[in-house]
Symmetry: D3
Subunit: 242 residues, 6 copies
């Protein structure tokens, strides 16, 4: 039984990362995972939040939003409701944690990098695309600092990427598109580094609870996929990440 | 090596659930997990959100907040900042998903149950306490509807409880108090039902990434603990849950 | 003609003040006046609002809120409406004025005490309970500062308590519960000190205007009741207040 | 000892009410009490708030605001802070209660009258001026409805006016201007009807608590002053109020 | 064919500027253009926005608002919707640009003048009246600084006034009242200085697009009218503006 | 004297319109005017705002926003400040008026088209690019309705495009890039239709007031440029616009 776009259960959608997509940010990348498209822009600011002042350590944070017509039905802008969308709030906290896990804050020094992930087209997996693309933007911004002589090597402890997977009609599938995600009984997002260590794992039994063995099966799908995503990051960023 | 309060690594803090803590709600429970104390109140309303209208199905949602001095330092109220705290937004979405997983929405019928979880004292594990106590409040509210003749048996597909665990100084520990949580390298929350199936699993490598084997070790701590929590729910609610 | 709970017209409901109810605040008290229950937490901060900077004087302020199900029908949280409830705004200003009246700001020195009054169950008289309980929390916080050697004696000019009274079916009654309050033609709140001097008096003819003689009758009910409330404060706080 | 503007302790400032000050509202009046100037506009809408729907009864509500330079220092507009000023919230609730006390809601029928009180110049006593002027605007709006044949006589149960008084340097004074108000030890506002019955009494011991005898002295100042204010209302409104 | 109020096509409504209308602001003027009435208050503050700090230059800004019943139907206050009205946002930006054009910021020095334009009655042309009256208030505030010795001559590069015009039923008309404005096919606002140079021109084809020749015809109406408005400013301000 | 990018004074930057840029909206176009890039998405909804209900007429509205790093310095998102940026408010009102001018609302029928203009890279002229690109998105959405048989021909009264121009160092220049715009003494935006009729003209003397002859010179630059822009629209949309 084939998936609706003909992919194998363990097959990623076509991934493309375009570095330097927007010209002004210190680091910028467009990431396309199938029809999901996210503009990731990294901004460097020479100050840190109050709780980091005087610590000698930097900070990394993220913001996530979708254009109103990134999806099939138009959503009202947050500002017209005066409320940050609860889903966006949850996702941007995840992206921030994921990216912080890859950065040596001491080596970064007292500066803040804000990674804006703006989804311009959403076909499932936007939070994972934001992490994978956001890491590329972050690395590009760090590289600009490196070329300015702020540090000799990028203050990274590793690479970070993320992928969704889920159980659809009883079958574990990798990298769900929107139609699959809507039908999923179980929905999982894995964030890992280049040593296949987990940075964040989040799974929900939306349609039904799931067994530990199912969690294990989904992990088995995600782990090699994230290794592949990190390879693509490395190829795209031209030697930046070793 | 003992924990700071003398517990074993796999030992829960003392758990106490007080049903009927507040007199007005359809279902109310105070849950104390060690020094963490959460008032859980379930409200029944005879209408559903727009996306459920005419579906014949009910809805369950949750709100989570902390009193300003639930913690060691006072936090300003959300309303004085005009922003729902990002952490609260994330947590209340989790509680809502966890409780919905236990309810037969068709059997509930077109009504909404809102479970308010207000933390009056926070010593770690407030989201898990909110789920465990929130389920008790939800069950009590459903029982009131049952006694009104709305249905013969509670429209529940099982029981739900949650527990935190984490890796502190390399050791997997169950049910972290605040001091342990602050020092944790890895932090996990498991929500499960009474058949030890997972409803939600969320883990973060706050201090460092973690191996799959560590995830497995934490699952092994959480699973029997949640069985124990569900036993306590059943004892406390006097036969309501079978 | 008896009152619905059997009380005499000039009889207070059972009053209980539990000091140290929450463990983190500098001063904390749960006050129960019949079925009205308010958690009062006092926080000390070592700074003052801009208008007090450099004055050598301290500041006392209060915030008041109700849990959504403190009442029979659930109220939406302020944050979900992005507006501080008008009634809460009015009440917290009253509590702040009442508590400030009891404090020697010069002796307090340049620090701010914020008294959070969170109503967990509301059966009438919540603003008065907040003042009476809030004063207990304030005194406990001041005592902690005293024990730290900040000052030798509490910087208080007296004790403060409050009580509601009203005219129901033509009869002046003390300490109205919610059902009585709803039926009241005239509604009065008195805040007084331990020398029976008035700090604040607020009366409204909700059902009909009232004569000066009625105001006098209500004052006559309130004055001995407040003396009694201050006795209870003194007993509860174990000699703190002399 | 004379007051700073030469008035006797029991003397009102010059009062002027200009009916029809703004041309669009159903009822409009500018009230000047000395240098305090408030535009009071009453709007009639043919619907009632949800809690009155189907009751056959009307509703009266008020809003209060100050222009940014109504006072000596410019205040930022509420909208630039996204918060209704707490003082305004408290005052507009008072104005609403005061005006509602004078209206026969059954005779008004299911319509809402909103009285906007906008202070363009503030020299003390703005809330009382708003009530006295707001009642004039309300009466004018009701008269327009009467002339449209909605009812034969104005659905009023009486007239309403308000005055401030206070204790300054130990002396009870009527109708405080801003300089006196700032120096007042005790500050009282009385709202009464044309039979000298009290609709609302609010007194605060800002500088020191006060004795019951002082409350009585202030009442004695306010009562004849309000009778005088109601005379002025009647003269100004040309027979409208009998 | 006469206009509804009998004016010639190129005739202004009666204009009246009352300096010193409100007593507290550094500069205050009430401007009446026919039935349009705007209170303009200028506030001087001894600081500048961050982007001007250390520049030695001052800043001028404006805020615009309408009382709820300035118009025929009551509008809800911005604060009750928590949103600055889009039209107000647009207009206050225009007023700010217009007034800044007339000020020598270097000569003003590092201080900010905020001009509040509050429309108390609106019969068309409120933005133009706000500019013409706002300039008067600004000049009065500058004159107060001059009298304090801050500078010898007013730091103005000229006078500024504004007028609306439009095409109604094919005819170019000057200074539209509300009824004309509602029926206008083309709507233009011109802001000019005392040398008939344009500071801002804004025209919209609300009913239909318009030809360049029509723009020219409207300019021909506006130019002498603005000269007349500046004459009135000069007469009213008693030699202040030369 | 050449312009910084070598253009002639009357030369447009390279313009590119990509129809169907985002796959979900009824009409979508990416417009690039030099380095300015705006995603324009048109959404059709089968309802109209309250003021149009029952009129048989449709409505067209626009929203405008910039990604945080569309510019050289990062701007905070509106939602984090809880305020719609004043400049955005002004611009989206302009876009809405411009697009409405081109639509036959009766022929559109009771439906609303919302055109979202999201600037992903800003190098001057974003409001004009939004109008020119927004018109393309609008036409594509209308064409989809036409293909659904809602109407036979597009309910358009003409084409609409916009261009900026200004006076820089005394010279009139067309289509300012950001560096030119920052240095401009006079700044003008023209919106016109395909018969060179003006829909909106907005000019500001940011650096100095300007003479009528300068306005005429800028009009002379803009008019042929807009004809050229409309040609590009027609070519890009493949016969849709005749």
């Amino acid at each position: 039984m084939k998936r609706q776009d003909g992919r194998q259960p363990d097959q990623l959608r076509p991934i493309e990362i375009t570095p330097g997509f927007i010209k002004y940010p210190e680091g910028s990348a467009l990431i396309c995972c199938g029809d999901t498209k996210v503009i990731c822009n990294a901004t460097v600011e020479e100050e840190v939040p109050p709780f980091r002042k005087g610590s000698g350590k930097g900070w990394v944070t993220a913001e996530y939003a979708m254009l109103p017509r990134a999806t099939n039905a138009r959503s009202r802008r947050d500002i017209s409701k005066l409320k940050l969308n609860g889903r966006s709030a949850e996702i941007q906290r995840l992206i921030g944690r994921a990216l912080r896990a890859a950065v040596d804050m001491k080596a970064l020094g007292e500066r803040t990098i804000t990674v804006d992930c703006d989804v311009i087209q959403a076909d499932g997996g936007t939070r994972c695309a934001s992490i994978t693309g956001g890491f590329a933007a972050l690395a590009l911004a760090l590289d600009q600092l490196r070329r300015q002589g702020i540090f000799d090597k990028l203050p990274l402890t590793g690479c970070v990427a993320a992928v969704s997977c889920g159980i659809v009609e009883g079958r574990p599938l990798l990298d769900l598109c929107y139609a699959e995600d809507s039908a999923a009984q179980v929905d999982f997002n894995f964030v890992m580094d280049d040593q296949s260590r987990v940075i964040e794992a989040q799974g929900t039994g939306e349609g039904r609870p799931f067994a530990k063995a199912e969690l294990d099966a989904l992990y088995a799908l995600a782990e090699p996929a994230i290794r592949r995503l990190i390879e693509i990051q490395k190829q795209t960023l031209g030697g930046l990440l070793g």
